[in-house]
């Protein structure tokens, strides 16, 4: 924890040094991803619903996924740029330090400009929440759990995909395919896709367990109570898988060393 606080302060200091750049970065990160949502908003303003889902419900689905992604980029950007650690050989130096490599990669830098991403997700989410009609007090307890699950899901997927670099070296393109595209897909109802694609997002990269399934129950479109615990199952399974792949990768990596 002390490690994290020290790093947090150091990152903030270095980022805030160039104020103009810092502000442009936050605004850029706010608007950059928000454009994706605006497109959907334009579609829904015209067509009212996507497969029975209204704009505010889609907004909520989008906000849950994007919030987790924003927080992950805020504290876990090291995984996003993991190939640079591997390709430059800097990863070797992390292995001889006393702290676990996983923690060290995560704490490469706290990336403050990603606050913009988190803010836009929250803004869309709050707007969505204030306009949906299914909400009750119990849901206010459940929704934060969903947000935490989304952070955990994004982190676990990023670790899983980062670990692939132990075998392939470069993995930027695998991240775009395995994380970015699936994340975008999870912002919309599963029924619009082919069933193979839906299964992949339920059982392989289980993004739908934190967005589509719980909202299916919350919006009253399904009575299946299992959907409410889907995020917990999804996060547990993907975390376990990520941990296994990461450890196998590290073992393989050290055995190929000098």
């Amino acid at each position: 924890m002390t490690l994290f606080v020290t790093l947090f302060k150091a990152s903030l200091k270095s980022d805030a040094q160039y104020k103009f750049d810092f502000v442009i970065n936050i605004i850029g990160n706010f608007l950059g991803l928000f454009a994706d949502f605006l497109i959907v908003a334009f579609i829904l303003l015209r067509f009212q619903s996507i497969d029975g889902w209204e704009l505010h419900e889609v907004a909520l689905m989008y906000a849950i996924v994007e919030f987790g992604f924003g927080v992950y980029r805020f504290i876990g950007d090291g995984f996003n740029n993991f190939e640079q650690l591997i390709l430059s050989g800097k990863f070797d130096t992390l292995l001889i330090r006393p702290a676990p490599a996983l923690v060290q990669v995560m704490l490469q830098k706290v990336d403050f400009k990603r606050l913009g991403m988190i803010l836009q997700a929250l803004a869309v989410g709050i707007w969505g929440l204030s306009n949906v009609n299914f909400i009750s007090t119990t849901y206010y307890i459940y929704l934060p759990i969903l947000l935490v699950a989304s952070v955990a899901m994004n982190l676990a997927i990023s670790i899983l995909l980062a670990a692939i670099a132990f075998w392939t070296g470069k993995n930027e393109d695998i991240i775009i395919l395995g994380h970015y595209s699936t994340r975008k897909a999870a912002s919309y109802p599963a029924t619009i896709y082919h069933s193979i694609f839906t299964h992949a997002l339920t059982f392989i990269i289980p993004f739908f367990t934190i967005s589509y399934y719980p909202l299916l129950y919350l919006t009253g479109k399904s009575k299946q109570i299992l959907f409410l615990i889907a995020p917990i199952i999804g996060v547990l399974v993907i975390s376990f898988l990520a941990y296994m792949v990461w450890n196998t990768g590290i073992k393989r990596y050290s055995s190929t060393g000098t």
């Binding site: 850029g28 454009a35 497969d51």
Partner: protein
């Protein structure tokens, strides 16, 4: 004496540099297809399997293939990278200007992208997703307007490069560009689905002339002559600004270096 051969040699070098990562780019193409697939499914969900729906599929996938030529260009035309590692100083010693050098370096990358990214994505879309081929009389007009679109996109990206000379970091401005590109280029939504006042605004910005206009020409929905004249008006304006800004910024940089 500057001649075109110097430029072509530069283009060839950046083409060969890209070739090294062919395998990564194949993975990336699959990612791009997934993004295209998601957009297509959203549109089919609202429009249904109708003539209008299939037109939207063609529109979206032609743009998805074209993204690699007009949106996903090297950050700031490679300039930020050169500013970062200091090699920008050598660029100043070259017998040609920064604008000239950047254009041909990006050209090599674009030719590569056309062959190994746009074409495979387009062909897959035609074979597997029901994308309609253009009327034979639209092929040449499409290729010409697409080329014009590429030049406009190059010039906009070049401004991001110039930004890096002045402000060093481009992350924020790159995201702002992504925001503008997503919302104003029409790459992910046919402009006819925007409210009319918004479409009016968009047609007064350069972004629509990189994606919407060429693809609308492809589909025979936009007059070629009008497209050509508007595009060259933008190219002329952006070129003049780029030319003068380059002069000012590179002169300043020389003073810093001295």
């Amino acid at each position: 004496m500057i001649d075109i051969l110097q430029g072509l040699a530069l283009a060839k070098k950046s083409f060969e540099r890209d070739q090294v990562y062919l395998l990564n780019h194949i993975v990336n193409n699959i990612g791009s297809l997934v993004f295209g697939y998601i957009n297509v499914r959203i549109w089919l969900a609202v429009l249904g399997n109708t003539v209008e729906g299939m037109e939207a599929v063609t529109y979206l996938m032609v743009n998805q293939a074209g993204l690699w030529l007009v949106m996903f260009l090297p950050y700031g035309c490679y300039i930020p990278k050169k500013v970062h590692d200091g090699s920008i100083a050598y660029e100043m010693l070259r017998p040609y200007s920064l604008l000239y050098g950047s254009f041909f370096e990006v050209l090599g990358h674009i030719v590569y992208n056309f062959l190994f990214r746009s074409m495979p994505i387009f062909l897959f879309s035609v074979i597997a997703m029901g994308v309609a081929l253009p009327n034979i009389h639209q092929i040449l007009p499409y290729l010409i307007t697409l080329t014009n679109g590429v030049i406009i996109a190059f010039l906009i990206n070049y401004f991001i490069g110039l930004w890096s000379i002045k402000f060093l970091s481009i992350n924020g401005v790159q995201m702002l560009y992504y925001f503008a590109g997503t919302l104003f280029s029409g790459a992910f939504i046919h402009l006819q689905y925007y409210p009319s006042y918004f479409k009016e605004l968009v047609m007064h910005l350069p972004f629509a002339y990189t994606s919407y206009v060429p693809t609308a020409v492809y589909q025979g929905q936009f007059d070629f002559t009008q497209a050509f004249i508007s595009q060259w008006a933008w190219i002329s304006l952006l070129f003049i600004i780029a030319y003068f800004l380059s002069g000012r910024l590179t002169k300043k940089m020389a003073i810093q270096g001295g």
